[in-house]
């Protein structure tokens, strides 16, 4: 009984078979699939099961007080439902949490593909010819050492614009030279799309696959996979090196099923690297208790400090926003700002407000566009802003991270709103001054009263700048 409770409370992956016979089916290696996701006939599948290249595992664990879905780790009773199942003629339990990726039902097994496929060894895979700064080099060396030992965790705490991707290159090269399998996972599809061409360019001879909701690659049979964290639900004990970018980002940081999946997707002896600019409480706690080794990169790649946000009290802010307008003080600032060559990035708490304010500024003859999550032309609008086709971009928190504009000022309207938490504000401030040609940028938070989140964000930026000066 005690054992059962312990097993339930801890993430337990002992059901994954420990033996991994070698085989030649790269698309099955380290996968956890439903029957219809395996592109072979029944006979062939039976044959593979007999060779234990595929292993059938129970899909939903039952315990006296509930269930656990082995694909997504869901244990919430309201995310399980029963249905009369026509195929087996009984009432079966299925998981509603990961239903988007096909139904996991308790009468049908999951198939675990042995991770015994041998990935090819690459010699000098990295063709990137840029140079790392001193800080970057130090972090890169530590990561190479981690990959070499092959076991352990490390958090890279690097400010926005530190060049996190480049830091990974030596470690990636090291892993590929040893024939290890790598996964670079991130919560956001936009980031996957942006990373793929950059990595393909730097590692031209390596087969790199990108996996996300509607990606053209589906098989996931490459030694190097870039994926959204959701895609990890289809992997088990697959990767020797697991890199999770933006660990603090939505939806990874507050979705236990993604943590479950990422833990399961890496081999029991894997090097795990987390990248973030704004660690959350949980990670900070682990850093403080020396449980999670950390490497700081407190300076941007161009060596200039991060712009520190100015907080401006605007008591009339809500009154004007309700009318769909901006207070005169803010408008004056925008007029002033528009005389400089910099573009303006304006953050608002909600989609509705973003659209209203865009209208409001259009009436005043500004070149304005607004972008939000449900916008079908999002990518084009962002691209046009980058090409400087218009002056002001109004957006919600979707552009808080992952996007780079060379020369912008950033204003946050109503920074006290709940959507702007510490991580979001730090990330938003990090949009300014990204280019070495214009390393400064004004960041202004307009608020109706300082919140802890704003103060924590400013403090965190100041702290990083202080560390950067010291080094």
């Amino acid at each position: 009984m005690f054992k059962a409770v312990k097993k339930y409370l801890q993430k337990d992956f002992s059901w994954i078979p420990p033996e991994n016979p070698t085989h030649s089916f790269s698309s099955l290696s380290g996968k956890l699939l439903l029957r219809h996701e395996i592109p072979y006939e029944d006979e062939k599948v039976d044959h593979l099961v007999a060779q234990s290249i595929l292993t059938k595992v129970t899909s939903i664990e039952t315990c006296p007080w509930g269930y656990r879905c082995r694909r997504c780790g869901n244990t919430k009773s309201y995310l399980f439902a029963k249905m009369p199942h026509a195929t087996c003629g009984q009432t079966c339990v299925y998981c509603r949490s990961c239903i988007q990726m096909g139904r996991v039902i308790d009468c049908e097994p999951l198939y675990y593909g042995s991770s015994g496929y041998e990935w090819s060894v690459h010699e000098h895979p990295c063709q990137w010819d840029g140079e790392l700064t001193r800080h970057q080099q130090k972090a890169a060396d530590e990561l190479v050492a981690l990959v070499r030992t092959g076991f352990g965790e490390k958090l890279v705490w690097a400010v926005c614009g530190a060049g996190k991707t480049e830091i990974l290159f030596p470690a990636l090269a090291e892993a590929l030279e040893k024939g290890k399998r790598i996964c670079l996972a991130t919560p956001r599809t936009d980031v996957v799309r942006e990373l793929l061409p950059r990595l393909k360019k730097s590692f031209p001879d390596v087969n790199i696959h990108a996996l996300y909701g509607d990606s053209p690659d589906k098989a996931g049979d490459a030694p190097f996979i870039i994926a959204t964290t959701h895609q990890l639900l289809r992997f088990a004990h697959a990767f020797d090196v697991m890199i999770i970018d933006e660990v603090d980002a939505f939806p990874f940081h507050n979705d236990p099923s993604l943590h479950y999946a990422s833990e399961r997707a890496s081999k029991p002896h894997a090097s795990i690297i987390y990248l973030t600019a704004t660690p959350r409480k949980e990670q900070k706690r682990r850093i403080r208790s020396k449980d999670l080794p950390v490497v700081f990169i407190p300076q941007r790649f161009h060596g200039h400090p991060l712009p520190v946000p100015q907080l401006k009290l605007t008591p009339t802010l809500h009154r004007y926003l309700q009318k769909g307008e901006l207070p005169p003080k803010v408008l004056q600032q925008i007029v002033h700002q528009q005389q400089t060559p910099r573009q303006l990035l304006l953050f608002l708490p909600s989609i509705k407000m973003a659209e209203q304010i865009a209208e409001h500024l259009k009436e005043r003859n500004y070149e304005v566009r607004s972008v939000h999550a449900e916008d079908s032309q999002r990518a084009e609008k962002i691209q046009a802003f980058r090409k400087k086709e218009y002056r002001v971009l109004i957006t919600t928190t979707i552009l808080e991270r992952g996007v780079t504009f060379p020369s912008v000022d950033v204003y946050v309207i109503d920074a006290g709103h709940v959507v702007f938490d510490e991580a979001a504000l730090v990330q938003i401030s990090g949009r300014a001054g990204r280019s070495p040609d214009d390393p400064k940028g004004n960041v202004i938070f307009y608020h109706i009263g300082k919140t802890d989140e704003m103060l924590d964000a400013v403090e965190s930026i100041r702290y990083m700048n202080k560390l950067g000066r010291k080094l």
Partner: protein
């Protein structure tokens, strides 16, 4: 209680009524309920197309080509974008529990339709599709209406209706085969009435073999 659709907590409003009896547990939250919408008057009296005064253009066309084939159709919800996503989740992803969100309103619509007492027929699926999906959506609806489904049809495997254009659908050959003719008035229960082709395929077979009147009942129109 959690909302069946968005899993947000549903908190029943506290009124003086709750003082006397416990509040009714809602299966879905107010936001989702609003987005699901409901078909209200005016609607086409024949096919229940929402927002249409009098008989709609489609039904007139049907009357010209196949007069009196289908008596009328009754539906409970409009097939809007939100409901399209729900159907995708329910039927194609196989999230059976979503049907529970419609149950109460479906039962009300069923009572209001006056179809009670008729033979309730389900739309069959081909064996292959049934294995894929794990349940027959039409049977599931009939069960949630607390009626007994009568399976007297057989279906050959064909492309999903939703993947075909209107023109294709209208020209499609009848995929059904009637196994046992009936002589009582019947109502066919399905999930969506789009062009009305499916139910009319079935109705034509029923009529040919002596069924006096055929109507249909669907969740969406």
């Amino acid at each position: 209680m959690r909302c069946l659709i968005c899993h947000a907590e549903t908190i029943p409003a506290v009124t003086w009524g709750t003082f006397w009896k416990p509040p009714v547990q809602k299966k879905i939250c107010r936001d989702c309920e609003e987005q699901m919408d409901k078909i209200t008057a005016p609607s086409c009296p024949r096919c229940h197309r929402p927002g249409h005064e009098g008989v709609c253009h489609d039904c007139e066309k049907w009357e010209k080509t196949n007069p009196g084939l289908l008596e009328r159709n009754v539906a409970a919800f409009p097939y809007n974008d939100f409901n399209k996503d729900l159907v995708a989740r329910w039927k194609y992803r196989g999230d059976y529990a979503v049907l529970g969100a419609f149950k109460e309103d479906l039962q009300n619509a069923w009572l209001a339709s006056g179809f009670k007492g008729r033979q309730v027929l389900n739309v069959p699926l081909s064996r292959k599709r049934l294995d894929e999906r794990g349940f027959n959506q039409s049977e599931a609806i009939i069960q949630s209406l607390e009626q007994e489904p009568l399976s007297i049809f057989e279906r050959s495997h064909s492309e999903k209706q939703s993947k075909r254009g209107r023109r294709d659908r209208m020209q499609a050959v009848n995929p059904f085969r009637l196994l046992h003719p009936i002589t009582d008035p019947a109502v066919i229960v399905d999930d969506i009435y789009t062009t009305g082709r499916t139910v009319r395929h079935m109705a034509s077979l029923l009529k040919k073999h002596g069924c006096p009147s055929v109507s249909s009942f669907t969740i969406f129109r």
